[in-house]
């Protein structure tokens, strides 16, 4: 990899997965000292990258039962022995951390609706006989009311960004009809949404989904056409910043076996202005 690459916009030698990792890392930049939980390969790399660079105060686990002084590489390891452990962090301690609010999770919901409510439980109209049973609500209800959450979407589509409400609402969002007594929207903290097309957040009018930046080569219409509800589009929509050479180096150290190249279908290039017609279309696999 000795090709000459310069920083930022001139750097074309990176994958879409790497672009998404770098931009997802930004979600953790101003978090201070909280547990950064990236669920899945790319979000975990994003949290790890944030901790290795601009927010060293973050806390991170070994994805099993210990808090680490610095993140483990996600690939190329054969055991947990010798890892830089800080304290025990089994599941019951995770709950203590969740309930304290000192955590920011980046999760991959199967469905997200206009209110920022999500679903990983079950698909279909009838909850009692689901069309497709998924994992179950896991910790989503508690996470969503206790601490900030960001969403990572490997394949931006209307199957994920659904019309109406999620089939099973597993996490609280900005839905006035469901707001509990004594709560305001200020008590709910949904942060960034990183997809294979763009970055969004919930700072549109009335906490609606707002377009923040478009990944290189993506048109606004692609985002709108693949979202099942309205997206607020500001006057100015910048291009998502490309990963720097330094970031790409650290990502490579965190994932020496390049598992990230398998996280998105066809492992598309990050700079799609530079892509030629042989690059397959952008739809990637649905990760549950």
């Amino acid at each position: 990899m000795s090709t000459m690459v310069s920083r930022d916009s001139n750097n074309t030698d990176y994958s879409l997965a790497e672009l998404m990792i770098a931009t997802a890392a930004e979600a953790f930049r101003h978090d201070g000292e909280v547990l950064a939980s990236g669920i899945g390969i790319l979000p975990r790399l994003a949290a790890s990258l944030a901790m290795k660079t601009f927010n060293q105060a973050l806390m991170i686990t070994d994805s099993e039962a210990f808090l680490l002084a610095e993140p483990n590489p996600i690939s190329g390891r054969s055991s947990h022995k010798g890892q830089p452990q800080e304290t025990w962090m089994g599941f019951s301690r995770i709950f203590d951390t969740v309930w304290s609010g000192k955590r920011h999770a980046m999760v991959q919901p199967s469905q997200i609706d206009q209110y920022g409510q999500t679903n990983i439980s079950a698909l279909g109209d009838n909850y009692h006989t689901p069309k497709v049973q998924l994992l179950g609500v896991r910790g989503f209800p508690g996470n969503s009311i206790c601490h900030p959450n960001s969403f990572f979407v490997p394949s931006h589509s209307k199957q994920v960004f659904v019309d109406g409400e999620c089939d099973m609402v597993a996490s609280i969002g900005y839905n006035p009809a469901r707001l509990p007594k004594g709560y305001s929207f200020n008590d709910i903290d949904i942060r960034e949404v990183i997809t294979d097309l763009c970055v969004m957040d919930w700072r549109g009018p009335n906490h609606s989904l707002r377009l923040v930046s478009l990944h290189s080569g993506v048109a606004i219409e692609q985002v709108l056409d693949n979202t099942g509800f309205d997206v607020y589009v500001p006057d100015q929509v910048p291009i998502t910043r490309a990963p720097t050479v330094e970031q790409l180096t650290i990502i490579n150290q965190l994932d020496p076996e390049n598992w990230r190249s398998k996280a998105l279908k066809y492992n598309p290039r990050g700079n799609r202005w530079a892509s030629d017609s042989t690059v397959p279309k952008l739809n990637s696999t649905v990760v549950t």
């Binding site: 209800p141 099973m168 609280i172």
Partner: protein
Amino acid sequence: MICARTFKAIDILKQEEFYMSKVLSAKNAVARIEDGMTLGIGGWGPRRKPMALVRELLRSQCKDLTIVAYGGADVGMLCAAGKVKKLIFAFVSLDFIPLEPYFRQARQNGTLDVMEIDEGMMLLGLRAAAWKIPYIPTSLGLGTDVIKYNPTIKVIDSPYDDKAWVAMPALKLDVSILHVDRADARGVCQIKSPDIYMDDWFARAADTTIVSCDELVGSAFFSQNDEARSVFWERAQTSSVVPIAGGAHPTSCAPGYGFDVSHLKIYNASVKEGGFSAYFEKYIATKTEQEYQQAVGGLEAILKLPLPVY
């Protein structure tokens, strides 16, 4: 000094004749689980599940159970065998195979009564039962369908503020089944795995707690070094001890052995190749636990299964 070698149950009984022995066979222990009971199962997904006890339960006539678990193949198998009337769960997953095949089948067929709750709500429910209080107030579940689909879980006012609170009810268990690394005949149980999951709360929330262990040791074992620090509940919370080396298979019992990836793949594939009855006939139905272990490669191979790297 007593070292960590495995004792035969009979040696332990002689050594500790002044104490009661809680050692039972799997069959006799599982016989305490009756039709219609609420059964808690320890472990998490594919990790440290009391699978030998689950297999014994599958061989029994017991039915109409309400299961409380952080579920994996334990829940899938019991659902597939028609043992489960109601499932109290936050997820059912085999981790590297995210969606448990038979749990999924049971849900999609609509044959299961469910109480689907947040993982933390389950912990609070177990704690409430252990502490003999009717509920624990929490914000978990507010604003979600967990409240909508569980009308028995009440949202209440607080005497101290003006907010809504979920009153997570006690999840009182008739019986819990757990698997640990080591136990003595009096019911002192040791977990050496990196995570104990909620096993301590499953033990405390149940009237009867049946614990299978990889190794039965003499009581003096726990007085060595810091061994007693890895004991997370008092023996009064343990009703029966069932020594079964490899008893968590095909789930893991770290640091001893990892989960059996290839066997879990066979199990997962069985849903499309003959269904659970074929799996049950091949591995469980008329087999003893020893025969089961031989059918999956032998105890020696189980104890060598590599630990997962996360």
